[in-house]
Amino acid sequence: MTTQVRTEPITVNLGPQHPSTHGVFRMRVTFDGEEIIDVEPIFGYLHRGSEKLAEERTYVQVVTLTDRMDYVGSMLNNQAYMLAVEKLAGVEPAPRGVWLRMIASELQRIASHLVAVGFLIQDLGAWGTPLIYTMREREKILDLFEMLCGARITNSYLRPGGVFMDAPEEFWPAMNEVLDELPPRIDDLDDLLTDNDIIFSRTKGVSVLTPEQMLDASITGPMLRAAGVDWDLRHRDPYDYYDQVTFERPLHTAGDNFARYWVRVQEMRESIKIIRQCEKLIEPGSVRPEHDDVPWLLRPPVGDAYAAIEHSKGELGFYLVSDGSISPYRCHVRAPSLINLTLLRDMLVGELLADMFVSFGSVDINMGEVDR
């Protein structure tokens, strides 16, 4: 006679105050033994009503709200918002300002990917060391931001048509020092982690998503490229001066947790290439249009505009509606962090408890942007 261990489904509440949920995310997970059989994500613990708040602020004041959406990608948020404002108001940006904001947003992309990779490895159980390695590099980038605009996280650096302040003299040598140091550090990451047997066995083949599934679920960014879809808005729909720089789009075909990790590591190298090119192409000049052309109190004509960029997490879009007054009539954010969670249930069901937070971390979300 064979004896079978009887298991009963058990429902566990994870979060919102859980250190592995990257903020205040909550999941109601049903387990059968160690296997996940159902997941219900619950959002909203960081909802601050940013879109409503934007309706009471001037176009320039809204920049501060965008900083606080994805707070590890503030420069990128600023950029997406500014592109929408410029499209709405018909502002012609100043070239030096555009180059500066491209440099800033590529630096931010590296910083954001460092956070994503560091925490992913942390979730895998490599406690402390890899995270501190990535945080150390991110810290140097944040120091550069401090030189650019005085802030490290909530930058508010961009303005309609450019940036509010030119980079100081000492910024350029400091940036070059950081860019020289970064590639060996990324190689270190590669040596320690990308070829690591434990990482292989824990991440390969876990939470696989197919390109068809992801397109259907509007998933964009590194997740989509990790399944072999060559879709990068910087390449396919170049905004700012991305059509003047060349870069590769690292693609992986597996669509699993390892592929998502790998794509992010490789993208950091491409960002360094882009910054080097920007540095060569940037020319002296004004960093934002004259005040007479673009006043602080913008009053865009009645109408609407949607602008999207390739954020470190996916397609970040701003949909702005103007009624001709000094505040946006409506400001909608197409948040990649929220939309990339659409398939969370599909990713997790059938996987093990130990892989849950790894898969969740590989989506790379930021609760500030999920809940807004």
């Binding site: 959002f43 909203g44 909802h47 009503g49 879109e51 409503k52 309706e55 009471e56 397109l215 259907d216 679920a217 509007s218 998933i219 964009t220 879809v229 879709w231 396919r236 729909d237 170049p238 059509d243 009053r299 009645v302 609407d304 949607y306 999207a308 397609e315 879009g317 949909y319 509606v321 009624d323 001709g324 007054s325 000094i326 505040s327 009539y329 409506r330 909608h332 197409r334 929220l338 939309i339 969670l341 659409t342 398939l343 809940d371 807004r372």
Partner: protein, 174 residues
């Protein structure tokens, strides 16, 4: 560069298959009837001329006299974008539009967000619940008649009445 579909051209192209769906077109936008949303969206996704595999964004705007649901579509194969809009809830009646979740699953969380914050019912959504706020929250905050000023630190005399509430959209006074 991505090609943005011209509104009039897109309307003509849709009219070939679905003659009654179009209400209006202008700029890069096409306005369609709420009832024909599933048919038009299925056509835009599957027809070889359009191939809009990716639903970029679903959102809604409160224009006081009606609500406008806005869909931003992206085609990877054709590297093109399109904007499809639909007006619902005229005269601030209950606003309802068919859900597109069975066409693009990406609409799932976004439609729930629009219902939660703007109060538009998506008919046929498999999990039609609030997402950011809790069940039982009074009202839908992104509607223009939702009062946000009670907690405001600005004195009442200095508060700026949204031009929309005064019924004068676009008076430019701000």
């Amino acid at each position: 560069m991505s090609k943005a579909w011209d509104g009039a051209k897109l309307a003509d192209a849709i009219r070939e298959s679905l003659p009654d769906a179009i209400v209006d077109a202008g700029g890069t936008d096409v306005w369609i009837k709420p009832d024909s949303v599933p048919d038009v969206m299925r056509l835009l996704r599957d027809d070889a001329e359009f191939r809009f595999e990716l639903l970029s964004s679903v959102t809604a705007v409160d224009y006081i006299s009606y609500f406008e649901v806005v869909y931003h579509l992206t085609s990877l194969t054709r590297n093109a974008t399109a904007v499809v809009k639909s007006k619902v809830g005229f005269g601030r009646e209950e606003a309802c539009i068919p859900s597109v979740v069975d066409i693009w699953r990406g609409a799932d969380l976004q439609e729930r967000e629009v219902w939660d914050l703007m109060g538009i019912i998506f008919d046929g959504h498999p999990n039609h619940k609030r997402i950011m706020l809790w069940e039982g929250f009074p009202g839908h905050p992104l509607r223009k008649d939702f009062a946000t000023y009670e907690q405001s630190i600005v004195p009442e005399s200095e508060r700026r009445v949204p031009s929309a509430l005064a019924g004068e959209i676009g008076d430019g006074q701000g």
